[in-house]
Assembly symmetry: C2
Amino acid sequence: MPTSTFYNLDESKRKQIFDACVEEFAAHTYSEASINQIIKTANIPRGSFYQYFADKEDCYLYLLGEIAKEKMILFRDIVAKDDDDTVFDEYEKMFDQAIVWIEKKPQYYQIGIKMDMDNSEFIRKLLKGNQAGLDYFASLIKRDQDRGIIRKDVDADVLTEMLFSINRTALMNFFYKRDFEGMKKQLHHILEIIRKGSTTEENHV
Amino acid sequence: MPTSTFYNLDESKRKQIFDACVEEFAAHTYSEASINQIIKTANIPRGSFYQYFADKEDCYLYLLGEIAKEKMILFRDIVAKDDDDTVFDEYEKMFDQAIVWIEKKPQYYQIGIKMDMDNSEFIRKLLKGNQAGLDYFASLIKRDQDRGIIRKDVDADVLTEMLFSINRTALMNFFYKRDFEGMKKQLHHILEIIRKGSTTEENHV
DNA sequence: CCTCAATATGACAACCCTGTCACATTTAGT
DNA sequence: ACTAAATGTGACAGGGTTGTCATATTGAGG
């Protein structure tokens, strides 16, 4: 937690510091990010930084917290759920949301990428708790198996992993190429393959 | 290139240094790896390191070269090709090979993982040239489309990316869990889904 | 106006790192 | 045995990092 001193600051100064953190943690891994750089960008003296944050970890957690808040606000009312949606439909909707997020705040997304790239103990612990999404998707798949949409011999966990693995790659690609329509089409195509397979009917032995 | 002095060393001493490099670069990213640590592990003085290698890059390239040599030797005669193989069969064989490699030399594989994690200019350049495999697979897919095994409306590049993305995730998983049979089964299951799809026939509209 | 707490500040210690270089030692050839 | 080249060596310079702390400044209440 940042100190009360930090929260007593002008909002403009707080933003100045926040922005400097975003810039640094988007450009570098947690481990590689430099407080020296942050204070230089934010234009505050070294001592002040430590008046506001206990240390680098404190600063990083603050940053993640703020980003999570913004994300919450952005997506609060956007989630249009349709009970007829299959897991694939929901997946596509989620993907679209992710793309909106990336386009709106590319730097925040890059912070996530860099977070994934780090393998310090601190970050590994932080990432551990992030597997709720996986369970949610596995449950959707099971639901669709009960509805008779997905074959029962498909392993829900395996399919979940496939979807997440592909999602990761696709978002990464999007991030670098920024071809919104192309990416949506490509993902749709991938889901078609996962739905119906890639081989001709004769080969569905 | 290491200096001639290095190659004039006893093989045992060279191995000692090589092993220290493996240990360090398996545990840390290229950027994070420390020459200090290497010389400590190899038990050689600082000056000697620079008598053998121009710098860290030189040392790393030497390491990669040695590993590539070993890999070549290991796989020289193992590649049993069958003209009736589909791209999926070849893919599975490749996966098996990768698993053999990981089981034989887990540290070498980890060096690869750590290499992927680094994003220094030097490593990025190094990784650029590594996309030959992708093209090869795309060509196999097109071949199977001509053979009538894979549907023509499937985009070869998209399918290639799917396969590689999944491969990556699967190998990563294997690396951490080391469940050989489980992993093989899981990959087979994934390929079944990619072949035949995951939905019931009624839903193949 | 004066005092005391809150806040600002940059020099500093302590710890990393890499690459160099003058000097010591070993080895090979005459 | 003597010389010259090859090799071994660790102190050092110059750069980075984080977190601390004594001191300066500011602001608010009596």
